[in-house]
């Protein structure tokens, strides 16, 4: 385990960025409750569950190269697994874990089917789309009394409400308070983020990125790429399931909309806009887009629905055309590009200053050295593998 941790830290070329993000999360963890604003904490918990969902997609698509068009299905499965389990068991500890295990099992079966069948990317996208739809239709139609697992009814399109919230393990009566729920969510977010970072820095993570880069070469090296893709898919599903479980604890309700294409589509947008190949990017993309849809939703009365579709459609089209890598990687590229220009100019000035008679080039030489010198420390290690942010 320590080997895993060590390799994770050593390999991350953007260590400072990672610490910054983790640090911000820790700060928020301590500061927000102090503000004594329960509504704010509730909002943040919502965002947290969505961010964790975004991270799951960032991992399987951004790093694993698997375009899953239905990541929402694991979110829904996790939520329903929790709701049904807690309705039967009456205590939240086992259901909490089930919310990750059930989606993982489902992903294992589906993934085995797809990846060991050597299906290419487009088919993976279509099949995951098809399965998500099938699940949506199916759950939507289960409103009759006869549809139940154990004591818990599936409730179809009505959705399941009044779901037991988290309690302290072992004591079904002691529910977590609002503050405690906040700490729990935030803590899980931190754990997910750091956990993924470590995973990506390990041998497993680096092979995953290699498989995305060039599947044939990874296979020619002797790696069983099918197994790696399956593992990525399953891990991503578990994380999405966790997000589903957290979302229930936020709004006490789950419905087939959790499986809806609209959510699957949003998840893709978060990663697309935020940045494929980073963890920080999709976090940003998720927060920004959720906020935008919030503003649009509460905007002009009649224009509400239209505006959302309209604006998101435009955003997606523009991003794919102009900023296909997403915000965060593009900003990084700009900074690199600026750095290169400064180095170039600095180099030019330096050779120019050499031409001048002695004593006259001092100012120019200083400027040149500053440009070049500043460059060396600012850009940090040269671009390496894909695990940034």
């Amino acid at each position: 385990m320590t080997g895993l941790l060590a390799s994770g830290w050593k390999f991350d070329p953007n260590r400072h960025g990672t610490w910054a993000v983790a640090g911000t999360m820790i700060v928020l963890l301590f500061v927000l409750p102090v503000l004594e604003d329960p509504l704010l904490l509730l909002q943040v918990r919502y965002y947290v569950s969505m961010i964790i969902l975004a991270l799951s997609m960032a991992f399987i698509w951004g790093f694993g190269g698997i375009m899953c068009f239905g990541q929402s299905m694991f979110f829904g499965l996790g939520g329903y697994a929790y709701a049904i389990a807690v309705g039967n068991i009456g205590e939240s500890t086992a259901p909490f874990f089930l919310s990750m295990i059930i989606p993982a099992i489902f992903a294992a079966i589906l993934g085995y089917f797809m990846f060991f069948g050597r299906l290419n990317d487009v088919y993976v996208a279509v099949i995951t789309l098809a399965v998500t739809l099938a699940l949506y239709y199916f759950i939507n139609s289960t409103s009759g009394d006869e549809y139940k697992i154990g004591k818990a009814r599936l409730m179809g399109f009505n959705g399941i409400s009044s779901i037991r919230k988290f309690n302290w393990p072992g004591d079904p009566k002691s529910f977590l308070t609002a503050n405690e729920l906040f700490y729990f969510s935030m803590g899980l977010l931190l754990a997910t983020y750091l956990g993924l970072k470590v995973l990506l820095g390990s041998k497993f993570g680096r092979v995953v990125v290699a498989v995305k880069e060039n599947e044939l070469r990874a296979e020619l090296l002797g790696y069983d790429v099918r197994a790696y893709k399956l593992a990525v898919f399953v891990i991503g599903a578990a994380i999405a399931g966790l997000a589903g479980c957290l979302s229930i604890n936020y709004k006490n309700f789950i419905s087939p909309n959790a499986f809806h294409l609209a959510l699957a589509a949003q998840i893709i947008m978060w990663v697309l806009v935020g940045g494929v190949g980073t963890l920080f990017g999709p976090i940003v993309g998720c927060v920004v887009l959720l906020y935008v849809s919030f503003i649009l939703g509460t905007g002009a009365a009649s224009g509400g629905g239209m505006n959302t579709y309209f604006i998101f459609g435009l955003i997606v089209m523009i991003f794919v055309l102009v900023i296909p890598q997403g915000i965060v990687p593009t900003i990084r590229d700009w900074r690199e590009q600026i750095g290169r220009y400064r180095r170039m100019i600095g180099g030019g000035l330096l050779s120019l200053s050499d031409q001048l008679p002695a004593g006259h080039g001092e100012g120019m030489r200083n400027l040149a050295e500053r440009l070049i010198g500043v460059m060396k420390s600012e850009s940090g290690p040269a671009p390496g593998a894909g695990t940034k942010g």
């Binding site: 680096r206 092979v207 880069e213 296979e219 020619l220 090296l221 790696y223 671009p383 390496g384």
Partner: protein, 241 residues
């Protein structure tokens, strides 16, 4: 190690694409430590034969044996794990990763992290890319990318290396360096090279197998091949028997 020192053998290897028979019942054999070149005009089947060996194509029928073991049913990664290193016609490297990372991934397959790091540095020195180890492979010159691929293959410590047109697109100097590298590698490892560049083949002084219309026409040393009238006819498009 097979008893008679044969490292690679095919028996009746056939590859059919619909109505076209690209590789026709080929019996091929080579010994440990050999350096064999596959040549032949375009469409002769040498590349297809090569891809059957690397499992990029699944042979329609026939067998492939590696050191006496039947590997016909193996999938690509299993073939790699047996100790067969493969360099493809279009360089198959990780363009978005650095030179160091490319080699490291190969090294790490067989060794623990610390060993892998050491081996990576050694290999990078050997292929002469020590000065650009952090550069993204996608940004390297064509010849350098080929060497990275060679480095990746070497790192796997293979017992047999399959090279598909290793000097394609290289300058004269680069070909020279590649020649030296291959001869050095051949001291401990058997190689199969698909090539068009006759000078290069002469320089690496290999045994040559000539393909024609999906079958082996003749196998001999390079000098004899160059003087063989039938080979000349085949290259010039006249039909040979």
């Amino acid at each position: 190690m097979a008893a008679d020192g044969v490292i690679l053998e095919t028996r009746g290897l056939t590859m059919r694409f619909g109505g076209v028979v690209a590789v026709n019942n080929v019996d091929f054999s080579m010994k440990e430590g050999e350096l064999r070149c596959l040549i032949g005009p375009n469409g002769a089947g040498k590349s297809t034969f090569f891809k059957c060996l690397t499992r990029q194509y699944k042979p329609t029928s026939g067998q492939v044996l590696f050191r006496g073991t039947d590997i016909t049913g193996d999938i690509t990664f299993q073939i790699a794990r047996r100790g067969i290193g493969i360099k493809t016609q279009v360089p198959s490297v990780f363009d978005g990763l650095s030179v160091h990372e490319n080699i490291w991934l190969s090294a790490r397959r067989h060794h623990k992290a610390r060993e892998a790091n050491k081996i990576t540095d050694a290999i990078i020195e050997r292929i002469g890319l020590g000065h650009t180890t952090k550069k993204l492979v996608g940004r390297l010159a064509h010849g350098e990318r080929q060497w990275v691929e060679l480095g990746i293959v070497l790192t796997g410590e293979p017992k047999l290396i399959l090279l598909d047109e290793p000097t394609a697109g290289m300058t004269g100097d680069e070909v020279g360096r590649t020649t030296a590298l291959i001869r050095e590698i051949n001291r401990n490892v058997a190689l199969i090279v698909v090539e068009h560049d006759m000078q290069f083949i002469k320089a690496i002084a290999a045994q040559v197998t000539v393909f024609h219309q999906g079958q082996i026409l003749v196998e001999d040393s390079m000098t004899n091949i160059l003087n063989n009238q039938r080979v000349r006819d085949v290259y010039l498009g006249k039909h040979a028997v």
